[in-house]
């Protein structure tokens, strides 16, 4: 990237309450009436987003993530609950009076204005002096790597460039928080990946809180400090990308984020902080017990384990942890790794990824009997089914 002057972070003395979260949602609900029915788009969301955090709302379409963001922006008013920015209650304050800016999915650039006028729009509405507008627009266009394109119209720019204009147009106002609604959705894969890195860099450079709405779990995992996984109008799980990926709280999260394997069985015994499920003949699953979900002998447990945590062996090893016998149903060569689809005696289908780093040849072929082994800490109990 070119040398750029970083845009200073908003002065902290301006904050209403320095200790307050940048964004706080308190029991926020949103219901719509359509054809006589009441439909809940968002059913009671509590969130607290720290200043400078890169926070993602992740979920399938219709999960309420966009409605949640629009309530933060001020385009929708919650049916119940409060929205606070820097500790100040902004529920009922219209979008043009809220100190947050949004990057729209389709960019929503002003087609009749030059890049400069697009970016300067917010500053002009706020009555910033001409000279300062010129300097700030120049700075931000440098940061998004669009210096020299001030006079172009949005229609003359590529998708990636329009994306960066949209970003600059919002960031130039130095908002308390930047809201991004699936901003990379319209870009092709290569550009998406480049922009993910770009967005992260820009966020570090300007130090503004980012709230990022996406249905792409890869995007959320790559960029976020924390993720709220949403489903059916509520937050299923809130945590760091690693927590969400490795310890999915619910079946939905386990299924939505990456590939995950679900195995269930009856607890045979509890050994300290671990439950042992006997699985098939001579097999077992060892799973750490969660404080919030205690289980005793005789309870049924659902356990997830990620494909890359499992080791595929041709003979039963003698080691602690989970051991499950299985039959190879499918072998798919993926380049850096090989994916094995295996079936357990219980009938569950399990995906196993094995790195191709050292093993030149495939470990097993279709129809082979194999053993799956993984450490106890990689099992995660998602509920007493």
């Amino acid at each position: 990237m070119t040398d750029t002057t970083p845009v200073p972070v908003r002065d902290d003395p301006g904050r209403a309450d320095p200790a307050a979260p940048a964004i706080e949602l308190d029991g926020v609900r949103k219901t719509y009436h359509s054809h006589g029915d009441t439909v809940a788009a968002v059913r009671g969301v509590d969130l607290s987003i720290a200043p400078g955090e890169f926070f993602s709302l992740l979920g399938p379409s219709g999960c309420g993530k966009t409605t949640t963001m629009r309530m933060i922006a001020g385009f929708e008013e919650p049916t119940a609950g409060r929205v606070r920015l820097d500790g100040r209650d902004v529920t009922g304050v219209p979008a043009n009076k809220r100190d947050v800016n949004m990057v729209f999915q389709s960019y929503a650039l002003f087609p009749h204005m030059s890049v400069f006028d697009n970016v300067a729009f917010g500053l002009r509405r706020k009555g910033v002096a001409k000279g300062e507008i010129k300097a700030r627009v120049g700075d931000i266009l440098g940061i998004v790597d669009l210096a020299g394109r001030e006079k172009r119209r949005p229609g003359e720019l590529s998708g990636g460039q329009q994306q960066r204009v949209a970003l600059a147009r919002a960031l130039v106002n130095r908002p308390r928080a930047l809201l991004l609604d699936e901003p990379l959705g319209a870009l092709d894969l290569k550009l998406r990946q480049a922009m993910q890195v770009e967005l992260k860099r820009i966020q570090r450079e300007v130090g503004i809180t980012f709230v990022y709405v996406t249905h792409d779990q890869g995007e959320a995992l790559t960029m976020s400090d924390r993720i709220a996984v949403m489903n059916d109008g509520g937050v299923e799980q809130l945590g760091t990308p690693r927590e969400i990926y490795e310890r999915p709280a619910t079946k939905f999260v386990a299924g939505f984020i990456g590939t995950s394997n679900l195995l269930s069985g009856e607890v045979g015994g509890v050994d300290g902080a671990q439950a042992v499920i006997s699985y098939g003949d001579d097999g077992r699953i060892v799973v750490p017990l969660r404080e919030d979900r205690p289980a005793a002998a005789g309870d049924r447990l659902e356990v997830t384990v990620r494909p890359e945590k499992i080791e595929l062996l041709t003979e039963r090893p003698d080691r602690p942890g989970s051991l499950v016998r299985a039959t190879v149903a499918e072998v798919v060569y993926l380049g850096t790794s090989t994916s094995y689809l295996v079936t357990t005696p219980g009938g569950a289908e399990v995906t196993v990824f094995q790195q191709n780093a050292t093993n030149a040849d495939d470990l097993a072929a279709r129809g082979d009997q194999v053993w799956l082994a993984w450490e106890a800490r990689h099992s995660y109990a998602i509920g007493t089914a």
Binding site: M102, F104, Q105, R125
Partner: protein
């Protein structure tokens, strides 16, 4: 063979329309242009004499009518914008699920003949008619007050008759605005007025440009409204052409006047396009 047919296909597709225009547009235009330079009369016939005086004579005698036509045309076009913009705005943004119903209602009068509608106006606005009669009876208006036989009546009639040609293009331009662009403006601290001035209005201007062309040109050459509502003192150039052609059989003079009007309108439209940005007008025309 197939490649040949492929190459010919575009021309074959254009052929019917092209022929139609050639026979019914180009030929009459050339014919009228040549008539405008002829001399003669209905009894002895007309002969081509390259008589350019037809044009200067027309301007000398009827220059004031030409100016009045453009003046009325301009007034009616402005009135159309003033009435059409709010209506189009309301339908585009507040029409909800019933947008097409509202548009249909606007077009409904068009199922009645243009002349009949204008005559109906005359019946409504006549001196002792349903509007002025009671008002005079209650003493709210002086006895001598009249609406018909005035420039005001003509401009009002023109405005009414051509209003949909202004509403439709403005509506289309407003309807095409991506609502997220408007939200983006609100998000960037714009109030309602700024959103309208900086975003909605500029984005709808191509529709206004198209509407101006679609109303100003036919309004300036209209003769029905002046004939029915205007009386003898408010004739427009369309009336003159009609009288000279059909009543006086002065084909050459009538043709010359028509071409003069056409030239003025063409020059006017191009100047207008240049002033407002060719791109926008071409875009508007292309919609």
């Amino acid at each position: 063979m197939r490649r040949l047919r492929g190459a010919l296909a575009p021309y074959l597709l254009v052929l019917p329309g092209g022929l139609w225009l050639a026979v019914f547009f180009v030929v009459p235009m050339v014919y009228m242009a040549s008539v405008s330079l002829m001399t003669g009369n209905i009894i002895d016939g007309f002969t081509m004499t390259w008589h350019w005086r037809n044009y200067t004579d027309g301007l000398d005698v009827y220059g004031d009518k030409l100016v009045r036509s453009l003046w009325y045309g301009g007034l009616a076009t402005l009135a159309c914008i003033a009435l059409a913009y709010p209506a189009a705005y309301w339908i585009a943004f507040k029409g909800g699920r019933h947008k097409s119903t509202w548009l249909f209602l606007l077009l409904l009068p068009f199922f009645v003949s243009f002349v009949l509608r204008t005559v109906a106006w005359k019946l409504v606005l006549t001196d002792e008619g349903p509007v002025l009669g009671p008002l005079k009876g209650w003493g709210l208006l002086p006895d001598g007050f009249h609406v018909l036989d005035s420039g005001f009546a003509v401009v009002s009639g023109l405005t009414y008759n051509f209003l949909p040609f202004m509403i439709l293009p403005i509506y289309v331009a407003l309807e095409r605005i991506d609502y997220r662009v408007i939200e983006a403006a609100y998000d960037l601290y714009a109030g309602r007025l700024a959103v309208f001035r900086r975003v909605v209005l500029p984005l709808s201007l191509p529709g206004v440009f198209a509407g101006v062309i679609m109303t100003f040109v036919p309004v300036s050459s209209d003769y029905v409204n002046a004939e029915v509502l205007g009386g003898p003192g408010n004739t427009m150039i369309g009336n003159v052409v009609q009288t000279e052609y059909f009543d006086n059989s002065s084909y050459a003079l009538a043709s010359a006047l028509s071409f003069t009007l056409m030239a003025i309108l063409l020059v006017g439209i191009f100047a207008y396009a240049r002033a407002l940005g060719t791109k926008d007008v071409l875009e508007a025309a292309g919609r």
